[in-house]
């Protein structure tokens, strides 16, 4: 047993000369572990793929997908290829093409859909197409242009053909232009929409502003709460935690309804202020059905999303650090400013980005308590999804919102990394 090792034995003991089959066996074990790990997350991946990634992908595709006019009025579009509105009215070929397209659309019942699509850019185009379809027999090869103009004098204006051509691309960025309050003139150039129709940019700005304000108010309220949670003795901290989480256990509709009861003109707050004589009967405050209402209710609903990440960060701050700072001569305020607060900044970033992102997508709250000037971009998206059925525009607005949130998230990760 105690005989000296031979040179060969010593070489065998070194890790460099690992036999190939051991290496293979190790890899096999590793593969098996990877496989079982993959099987564990598979259900989640499938769910995310079918319930999230694919629908979102389809929605994003909708924002550029524009098949209706391209497939419904093909001959008209071919005839309009080399035409521009500056040339005046298009050639007879375009009118004849339009006639054949409308006949075909009437036959397969797609005229309504085409009309609806054109109506999005040119109000009245739908009824124009329907009316023209009914009187199409009057159009002959002899003078189709005059016949169309006789049916409706709008066919004598180049604008309608410009609109058809603008809507005729199979894939289009027009929804994005619309979402950014831009449009194309009949010549196809990108121009700003008329003053009265610009509403999306303002809504985006308002969404960012309301979300940022909500995140800031949440920060002001959450910081002391999280501090108490992290530093109270366990029993009282648990009680406070329940109070913080209580809103989570209540239906959001119930919470919003109670805010309405509190904040409306004849609500608890106004009644109390009026009976105390702080405000007169005429001066009752408009606390709800406006931006104020959106921010108050949004803050209440989103507050736990700020408190929890901040609390978890504060929990990790070693209490000896603040003691160390004061023992080194710093006043409690300096110790807070130089040591404690910087260490909680990651929690502030996490909380504020969470609240901000949730708030930009908030829909129910502004819909119920936002009134006119408290509506956010998500309410317009819902409107186009459900009421106007302009899914392309809804998709484009959603995509822009997603990009905006992506930028915020990117900035957030950068800021957090710089902190470390």
């Amino acid at each position: 047993m105690s005989a000296p090792l031979s040179a060969a034995q010593m070489a065998g003991a070194s890790p460099v000369a690992m036999p190939a089959d051991i290496e293979r066996a190790a890899r096999r074990v590793e593969r098996r572990q990877t496989f079982s790990a993959a099987m564990l997350v598979l259900p989640l991946i499938v769910l995310i793929a079918f319930a999230f990634l694919i629908p979102v992908g389809l929605l994003l595709f909708k924002s550029i997908d524009n098949p209706v006019v391209a497939e419904g009025l093909p001959e008209t579009l071919i005839a309009l290829q080399s035409w521009s509105p500056a040339d005046g009215l298009p050639s007879d070929a375009a009118y004849l093409g339009l006639k054949r397209d409308i006949e075909k659309a009437k036959a397969n019942g797609s005229l309504g859909v085409i009309g609806a699509r054109l109506n999005q850019d040119t109000p009245g185009a739908r009824s124009l197409l329907q009316a023209t379809g009914r009187k199409l027999d009057a159009v002959t090869d002899a003078d189709p242009r005059q016949a169309f103009i006789t049916i409706d004098k709008r066919w004598g204006e180049p604008e309608i053909f410009g609109a058809i051509r603008n809507a005729g691309d199979r894939y289009t960025f027009n929804y994005y232009l619309n979402a950014l309050d831009l449009t194309r003139n009949t010549a196809g150039d990108i121009i700003a929409k008329p003053e009265g129709q610009r509403l999306h940019i303002n809504l985006f700005i308002r969404t960012v502003w309301v979300s940022a304000l909500t995140a800031f108010v949440c920060f002001l309220l959450a910081y002391p709460i999280a501090y108490l949670l992290a530093h109270l003795p366990a029993r009282r901290a648990n009680l406070l935690m329940i109070v913080v989480l209580l809103p989570f256990w209540t239906s959001i509709l119930v919470r919003i309804t109670s805010w309405i009861a509190l904040l409306q003109k004849q609500g608890v707050v106004n009644d109390a202020l009026a009976s105390l004589g702080v405000i007169g009967e005429a001066g009752r405050l408009a606390l709800i059905y406006n931006m104020t209402g959106t921010i108050i209710v949004g803050t209440h609903i989103l507050l736990p999303f700020f408190v929890l990440p901040l609390y978890s960060v504060m929990k990790t701050v070693n209490p000896n650090l603040v003691r160390a700072a004061t023992s080194l001569g710093a006043s409690p305020f300096t110790a807070f400013r130089r040591v404690y607060f910087p260490l909680t900044v990651p929690g502030i970033f996490a909380g504020s980005s969470l609240v901000f992102i949730l708030c930009t997508g908030y829909f129910i709250t502004p819909a119920l308590v936002g009134g006119q000037n408290g509506q956010l971009i998500s309410n317009i998206i819902a409107y186009h999804m459900q009421q106007s059925l302009n899914w392309g525009l809804a998709a484009a607005l959603s995509t822009l919102l997603l990009v905006m949130i992506g930028i915020v998230y990117f900035l957030y990760t950068r800021l957090v990394r710089d902190q470390r």
């Binding site: 000896n320 003691r323 700072a325 004061t326 080194l328 260490l343």
Partner: protein, 363 residues
């Protein structure tokens, strides 16, 4: 030596019922290295926290350098403190950590830079000035914490188990380094630890705490050689305990009957009168195996129960002397273990000056 710190009549209770520190009087001399040693919950850390200003004494007063500090907040005391787990600011670089106490004292920038550089050189961390604490090893972090507590030149530095998180080798090296710095700067240090070897190697004096009371305060050598009571004897190093009754007192010695008819001579430490019950304490390394005649004062027979081989020394457990095994520790010199075989009967002995008659301690 003049006294720098005095604690007078300090009591501390957190809940109004139980005293964590009971009627403490303590003087720390200028330039002294005093260690507060004791098991956890003995009140040593509470004393340190009261010195630092993080806790307020329930009664009593704290005077540092002639100034009443009892109600002064920590930042106005000018005491350096090294915390358990270092408490370096993770959001600042090493240099910024060191500059912090100077910045809050509004030192001019040039002097500040100069002092930070000197301080970095003192702990040999100049190349690490711009690193974050998390990028340093435990020993390096410890040196930064030390440098930070010293950079504003406090007269008193408190250390709360500063080496607790380090492994054994590093701990010994840091003990040496702290001692070096203490000797060089002449700063007064109050050091809290529960590690007795740390206390013995580093301190000028050690205060042993138990149950909120200082059991004994004296230089390390005296603490080991002449423990004042059974707790100290048991807490510092190993000892064998034999229960007995004092039969006779002869000057500084006494005769103690440990079994019917078996009487041994011991040094009188915690006994005052005959017929008093007592605990005898004998250090394992002071026991001789098969002593020559005249070499020792007391010879007793015992039976070897087991022998443990420790490399540099050998430990034997003997039966027949009291309820617990009697431990003997022998240096591993040639032939030392020859007579020690399990089951063998041996005679052992000790000098009566190595046998201390202490207060009775309930086992």
């Amino acid at each position: 030596m003049t006294s720098l710190v005095s604690l007078r009549g300090i009591q501390k209770t957190y809940d109004g019922k139980q005293l964590v520190v009971k009627n403490l009087d303590l003087e720390v001399s200028e330039g002294e290295f005093l260690t507060l040693l004791g098991p956890s919950g003995s009140g040593k850390t509470t004393v340190l926290m009261m010195l630092a200003g993080f806790e307020t004494p329930t009664t009593g007063e704290i005077v540092i350098a002639g100034q009443h500090m009892t109600r002064l907040p920590p930042q106005k005391r000018g005491i350096g403190m090294v915390f358990q787990n270092y408490a370096l600011f993770p959001n600042m670089s090493v240099a910024e950590n060191l500059a912090f106490p100077l910045e809050v004292r509004k030192l001019p920038a040039a002097e500040l830079r100069d002092r930070v550089e000197k301080s970095l050189a003192m702990v040999r961390l100049t190349p690490f000035a711009d690193r974050r604490p998390s990028q340093l090893s435990g020993g390096q972090q410890q040196r930064v914490a030390l440098a930070r507590a010293l950079i504003f030149e406090p007269r008193l530095v408190l250390m709360d188990e500063p080496l607790g998180a380090l492994d054994k080798n590093l701990r010994e090296q840091m003990q040496y380094e702290i001692k070096q710095i203490h000797a060089r700067l002449g700063v007064t240090v109050v050091y809290v630890t529960h590690d007795q070897s740390e206390a013995l190697t580093m301190s000028d004096r050690v205060a042993v705490f138990n149950d909120g009371i200082i059991q004994q305060i004296c230089p390390p050598k005296e603490l080991y050689e002449r423990p004042g009571n059974s707790f100290v004897a048991g807490f510092i190093g190993e000892n064998n305990r034999l229960q007995g009754v004092v039969r006779k007192i002869i000057d500084d010695d006494c005769l103690v009957e440990i079994a019917p008819g078996v009487t041994v001579r011991a040094r009188k430490v915690g006994v005052h009168a005959t017929a008093e019950p007592t605990t005898l304490s004998i250090r394992p390394e002071r026991v001789k195996i098969s002593p020559q005649a005249g070499e020792v004062d007391t010879v007793i027979a015992g039976e070897v129960e087991s022998v443990l081989y420790h490399g540099d020394h050998i430990r034997a457990h003997l039966r027949g002397l009291g309820p617990t095994p009697f431990v003997v520790k022998l240096p591993n010199t040639n032939g030392a273990a020859a007579t020690l075989v399990a089951g063998a009967s041996v005679s052992i002995g000790w000098a009566s000056r190595d046998c201390l008659a202490l207060d009775l301690m309930e086992a």
